[in-house]
């Protein structure tokens, strides 16, 4: 009957937790033991030049966080996404073209890292099928209405 614990015990537990949290905070201990390395400087810091940051942001929104499920790197807490954001930002700051950065990342991590689809031997159906759908939709309209117009 754990649901019916006396109130005082719960209050005591909360107080203990608060104490623990205070302790952790005051000692400056890392909050997560597994994240022992501090994040790269530009993981969570914007570039000073708003124009450059906008370029970086646009690119980051189309790069996949490889550790997450369906998140772009600018939508993720994962350390790896942070490292990639850092990489993208310093590359943009050094004047690289965003598509060159994307190409570099794709070379390193595979096509999987880019959300922006490019027509290739493996992705052509993604572009052909919508065209087919357009044709089918046109055919349906034609069949239904053209002869009667």
């Amino acid at each position: 009957m754990t649901a019916l614990r006396p109130f005082s015990a719960a209050a005591l537990r909360q107080a203990l937790m608060a104490l623990m949290a205070l302790l952790m905070l005051s000692l400056g201990a890392p909050l997560l033991a597994q994240q022992s390395l501090p994040p790269a400087p530009y993981a969570n810091r914007q570039l000073d030049d708003p124009a450059q940051e906008a370029i970086a942001h646009e690119l980051m929104a189309t790069l996949r966080c490889l550790e997450c499920q369906s998140q772009a790197i600018n939508d993720s807490d994962s350390p790896m996404a942070g490292d990639m954001r850092h990489q993208v930002r310093i590359s943009v700051a050094s004047g690289e073209h965003p598509e060159a950065i994307r190409a570099w990342l794709m070379e390193r991590y595979g096509d999987y890292v880019s959300y922006t689809p490019q027509v290739s031997a493996t992705t052509w159906p993604l572009f052909v099928v919508p065209l087919l759908i357009l044709l089918v939709a046109g055919a349906i309209f034609w069949r239904r209405f053209a002869r009667r117009a």
């Binding site: 909050l31 369906s70 595979g110 959300y115 689809p117 099928v129 759908i133 357009l134 939709a137 239904r144």
Partner: protein, 679 residues
């Protein structure tokens, strides 16, 4: 003991589903009212009761944290708040599948009790189909996902529930979606029943419509809530990720949206019969596909799915059986169901056909983009399909559809001329063009948000045009429903486009006392304090935000550390203003006494979800209007029933009847039951 009772109730419910299926099948085949036929409705009702009992048993073992039950031990924890203990019952694979069949059985029981309009034989076929679908899911639960399995030795303590899921919104998100998914199973059973008996009539459409509308309302609310949950819980300000799990709920919604428009045409005009049946089959197929995607583990990895395929294979077989079976039946029977009444392109039906085709096309795109990466992964090629694909490709179909949506409701049924509504079309066109030019000149906005803003402005006006020149108190409730739902689409679209075009982002490392700027807001970190909750501790940032010299508002985002299971989550804080939301998140310590703070100013972002709720409200109004009309007309209809039977042969054109025409006439003189002689 309770767990065993729950399991026994589940077996009994499965047995009743079997009885319902067999009795239904036999009496439909016999073609006359047999004794078996009398069993079908009671079987459906009792099946619902037993499934309900079984689910209550599961809730109970979660409520008391019975750690000898494997599911409780692996997904709950004695220290969780009660509401999350209960929601933990469906926050896992087995429990959610039990919820699925329970909702399905209760829905089946409900139609068995209330639906009296359709011919007996069609109802028998409908309930047989419902029982048959339920049977597959009972088999799945009982044979491969028993929620009541006991542990040989009770666990000392439960493993807890993922902290991300310990959120009140999420606790009720899956049930809402399941009500939608499973409501579509009723539409599916109606479609299959009507295919079997070839009774695709306006009466059939009117019986099916409340279920489609209800399921659609639940799906709309579920998707809207899910999107808002992702928005505030994931802590990065995104509200739609084109994640396969999200797509799994969007696809049934798209199909249901097409279906509800199609079923309205069938009810009002006796047209689009084949479309309606096909969409009924597709909509539930998408529900099952969504369940398969989410529940089989295939999304985590195609390969892990292939290595441990028991559950996935089971659902895949169910999918193949039900979708394949229904499509086969459709292929066999579709040619014998006439298309229904014809109409011109410049007519309400014409616009609704465009709507159906466009929604189906969008559905196909989402389906393709969701399944394609899984397909290539099976061949060891990994590709990513994300927003940069879905947004533009979807827009190719969405924008024309929205333009048609603006004028469609202004057209008359059957045949109309665009010239008659030329003035409205000119006004709407002018709004569109002016908005496009103004926004393009004044702001630096990308193409898609630009189109979104302009179309939203035009739709806002267009959605109210159907009310023009009408006495507002005399407008039927269902028409109000349409107006509100279409207006909701405009509102949501405006929110999406505005968020995409005008969001301001600020990532900063702040020491207490530091101030940073995001949009018009100046945000100061006043202090960092530790706080504790029932099963977590947190670092709380005390922020105050103000515009210029305005009154500061206090915001307290937290970075929470849970320990059962251990995980850190960011508790974002949203300050809502009439023109947008300020979004604040606490990050990690930067190590030098400063703390990472993430801030966004998102103009009009809340309109996305208000729009979604308006769409759902429109659906609710439509249900109220339709059901009220039904109740009002029911007695009138009953009295007119005989007269209608006499008029039917003239109503159906000869090509509807084909060679059955003669048999029809023969039988009719005998017992006045044309729906049976039509076979």
């Amino acid at each position: 003991m309770i767990a065993e009772l729950g399991l026994a109730a589940l077996w009994l419910a499965a047995a009743l589903a079997g009885l319902q299926t067999i009795a239904g099948f036999l009496s439909v085949r016999a073609g006359t009212t047999t004794e078996l036929g009398g069993l079908i409705r009671p079987a459906a009702v009792v099946q619902g009761v037993f499934a309900g009992l079984s689910f209550c048993a599961l809730l109970y073992v979660f409520a008391i944290t019975d750690l000898s039950v494997k599911l409780v031990a692996s997904h709950s924890h004695a220290l969780k708040p009660m509401v999350f203990k209960l929601s933990g019952a469906w926050g896992n694979h087995e429990g959610s599948m039990l919820l699925w069949v329970t909702v399905m059985a209760l829905a089946g029981a409900l139609i068995a009790v209330v639906e009296r309009r359709l011919p007996d034989r069609t109802m028998q076929a409908v309930l047989a189909a419902q029982g048959f679908v339920a049977l597959g899911f009972y088999a799945f639960l009982l044979l491969s996902s028993n929620p009541f399995e006991r542990l040989p030795i009770p666990a000392a303590e439960g493993m807890g529930l993922n902290p991300l899921l310990q959120d009140i919104g999420l606790a009720f998100h899956p049930p809402t979606l399941y009500f939608g998914y499973v409501g579509l199973s009723i539409a599916f059973s109606f479609a299959v029943g009507a295919l079997i008996t070839r009774e695709v009539t306006p009466a059939f459409a009117r019986a099916m419509r409340p279920w489609v509308l209800g399921a659609w309302v639940f799906l709309t609310v579920g998707i809207t809530a899910g999107s808002y949950w992702a928005y505030y819980e994931l802590g990065w300000g995104g509200w739609w990720f084109w994640d396969p799990v999200e797509n799994a709920s969007l696809m049934p919604w798209l199909a249901a949206t097409a279906l509800l428009h199609s079923v309205s045409v069938l009810a009002a005009r006796d047209a689009l019969r084949v479309w309606t049946i096909m969409l009924g089959v597709v909509a539930f197929s998408m529900s099952m596909l969504g369940t398969f995607l989410v529940r089989s583990g295939i999304l985590t990895s195609v390969h892990s799915f292939a290595v441990d395929p028991e559950r996935g294979t089971f659902i895949l077989l169910l999918l193949a059986l039900y979708i394949g079976g229904a499509l086969l039946l459709f292929a066999l029977r579709a040619s014998t169901i006439s298309e229904g009444k014809r109409f011109a392109i410049a007519s309400r039906e014409g616009a609704l056909v465009v709507n159906n085709v466009m929604l189906s096309a969008i559905l196909a795109i989402v389906l393709l983009g969701t399944l394609y990466p899984l397909l290539t992964e099976a061949f060891d090629i990994r590709v990513s399909v994300g927003p940069p694909y879905f947004n533009p490709v979807g827009a190719i179909f969405v924008i024309p559809m929205l333009l048609v949506m603006a004028v469609g409701p202004l057209l008359r049924w059957r045949e109309d001329r665009f010239a008659r509504i030329s003035r409205e079309m000119i006004v709407l066109g002018a709004i569109l063009v002016v908005a496009l030019v103004l926004i393009a000149v004044l702001g630096d906005v990308a193409l898609l948000p630009l189109l979104g803003l302009a179309v939203a402005a035009m739709l806002t006006v267009a959605s109210f045009l159907p009310l023009r020149g009408r006495k507002l108190t005399r407008v039927p409730i269902a028409t109000w429903g349409m107006v509100v739902a279409h207006f909701g689409i405009a509102v949501a679209l405006f929110g999406m486009a505005s968020e995409s075009a005008f969001t301001k982002e600020r990532l900063a490392a702040l020491a207490p006392g530091d101030t940073t700027q995001v949009g018009q807001w100046a945000v100061t970190l006043d202090a960092i304090v530790p706080v504790a909750g029932p099963n977590w501790t947190a670092i709380e940032g005390q922020l105050s935000a103000r515009i210029g010299d305005g009154e500061p508002i206090s915001m307290r985002p937290q970075s929470r550390t849970f320990w059962a299971p251990p995980q850190v989550t960011a508790e974002s804080v949203l300050a809502t203003r009439w023109n947008g939301q300020l979004y604040a998140v606490m990050g990690e310590s930067a190590g030098d006494g400063r703390w990472q703070v993430r801030l966004w100013w998102k103009p009009f972002v809340t309109l996305i979800w208000y729009g979604g709720l308006l769409v759902a409200l429109g659906g609710v109004l439509a249900i109220i209007g339709r059901v009220r009309d039904d109740l009002k007309n029911r007695s009138v209809l009953r009295r007119a029933a005989e007269r209608r039977e006499d008029m039917r042969p003239e109503d159906m054109r000869p090509e509807d009847m084909g060679s059955e025409d003669m048999a029809y006439e023969d039988m009719r003189s005998e017992d006045m039951r044309p729906e049976e002689s039509a076979l």
